[in-house]
Symmetry: C2
Subunit: 417 residues, 2 copies
Amino acid sequence: MANVTATIITIGDELLIGQTIDTNSAWMAQRLNEIGIVVERRVTIADKADDIRLALDEEIPRADIILMTGGLGPTADDITKPFLCEYFGGKLVLNEKVLEHVKTLFERRNKPFLERNRMQADVPDVCIVLYNEMGTAPGMLFEKDGKYIISMPGVPFEMMSIMTKEVIPRLQSKYVSDAVLHRTIITSGEGESFIAETLEDIEEALPMGIKLAYLPSPGIVKLRLTATGGDETQLSKELEKYQQQIADRLSDIVVVMNDIPIQELLGNALREQGKRMALAESCSGGYIAHLITQVQGSSDYFQGAIVPYQSKLKNKIVGVDADMLKEHSAISEEVAIELATKSLAMFNSDYCLSVTGQLSHGGEDAHIQKGLVWMAVADKDRVKTKKYLFHYGRELNKELTAQIGMLMLWKFITGRI
Amino acid sequence: MANVTATIITIGDELLIGQTIDTNSAWMAQRLNEIGIVVERRVTIADKADDIRLALDEEIPRADIILMTGGLGPTADDITKPFLCEYFGGKLVLNEKVLEHVKTLFERRNKPFLERNRMQADVPDVCIVLYNEMGTAPGMLFEKDGKYIISMPGVPFEMMSIMTKEVIPRLQSKYVSDAVLHRTIITSGEGESFIAETLEDIEEALPMGIKLAYLPSPGIVKLRLTATGGDETQLSKELEKYQQQIADRLSDIVVVMNDIPIQELLGNALREQGKRMALAESCSGGYIAHLITQVQGSSDYFQGAIVPYQSKLKNKIVGVDADMLKEHSAISEEVAIELATKSLAMFNSDYCLSVTGQLSHGGEDAHIQKGLVWMAVADKDRVKTKKYLFHYGRELNKELTAQIGMLMLWKFITGRI
């Protein structure tokens, strides 16, 4: 047995001019990996018949499955459906079930039902219709040379719904694939070169079928072990043996043995202790609160945040001493401590993280060094502070502040600092 | 004259297993479009020599320029550099300037300088080295059959630095391209079908070289006109004529005639009036504050936010009446109004937007209908409220809340509501 392979073809001028970032491919690849299907190539092309034809002619022989997204909407720039109909030698016929569904959606939204919407219910007579619960454009499954070619709309939540309910079950029943397993270790505190050096002998001794990859991102380096094989239980055991060996070697810098976002790691620690947290975010402008509330169920432990973006609100709302703000400036260890302890009291919380800094040039604190950030974590007994100097642009400095701040709170909560 | 064309090849297993979302390609495409270069294809492949070879063999004949990212790091899974060296028939030689730079970076970070880092200064003797100010892996420019093949690291801010400082100037001096121009109209309030219907005659009468595309996203539909041609001034004039014609037809639902995020539109309106705003975000959990503070210079008009994620904080910190919370629940018009007006006073602001809702199942308000969101906007004289029922998952409902909330505040500020 071996792995079933797939190519993802994304269609859309907006992807080629950079107006839209393709988040669909990553999501689809994850779902495919879960059932042992390996994505070997991804190709992005324009809304042009010739380009779609070339991509299909080239990619169909190379993979077992072709997943396509895009170009299925109701407007003139959407050409994928008529093209596929012609490519696979069919003709468009009205599908009553799809028609009913599209009509219902328009009724629910109180919008007029137009001829161009009715046309969304026309489907090639040579495909299996994949029902689109979330939108008006149905997915389509074609078969050629024993291979599946699947077309879905590019709107992310519509694609996700069709993948989950229609595509994955069909792929599972048609294909039997080797397993593809990943195990990740998240580290913080050293660069990828240093880690690679530390692991050199372990990496060289890895068996043929197991690959180690290094993925640096703001504040962390992820190590990913990947293996493919027929016996999933055995493979999983072997991967975890190497994962443990690596974690033992790196002990100090290992954060978690799982590919989860730091906000989830933090949430798990809080939930385990039955404790709650609050935030006083200045320079990060609500971003940490946003990340934390992306986790389903975060209201169990996240109480809220104050974002005193302008300096005097640190005094007016949080109660940081006005003279202290003047003497030390808003970006100082003293103010970080006051923000954390006063917000802890204001939210009546178990833990509080504060961040205050200057992420880019300009604003009230233009005299402060760009990239300087002070952070503090507090509970009712202890406070810890740390100073950082980030060397990048506004967005990346914000990302670093958020990731490192959440990690600092996690270390504080779990007794590591 | 015609357009110079490019293919983007992104290399990395993490892109094919979906561990990383490719944001680089969109950014690169935008920069290329600005100098008239059209991206016709994007291909994503694994860190495997055979796959890189196939991609180069196929793509070099098809485009004038090949831009590649990824696989240039210091670890064993990074194979792009030795592969390209062999592919273009060169050998690796030490580059003293790169070596000095890499050493300086390690000194600044107080990290040991390792042999594998020294090796990052080895470059093929058949390329032009593209200096990487932000990191340790240099970019490389190869020439073959009169075409440029450019390799850069996949770390976004490193790629961006090399593109801006090294790649774009070289492309501009080598290639003369027709212009590629885009003009966008952002609308809110109608679906793409209805808009397409309204514009049908205008769209049909567009000249050959001008294309209209529809891009629906949460809360808005973008209309994009694209044209290519030799005379940029003439082209721009013509595009703007059609842009105006479309805007006149759609008058009611046009938000802005420019492809800017809603947070920037809102910031511009506030700056014009010399006014400031605050936020009381409950269900959106800091996301709106995050979006607003992504805009450089937002501290001129954004004062701050309170995120009273747990219900009783709406009383304790913002001062919403406890009986009102009990009687109407936290997700009600009454509480949205109180949140907006009380926060307006707390921040001493000119405008305040409040949102309170139930984005997904569970939490304190599990009895409330999923997707129900109340919003209020207030200044010292007026309050406006609106109720929404969103039908999607947690993340998309959050996105809708943020986009629609910011649009509502913008309409309030500019006297549209």
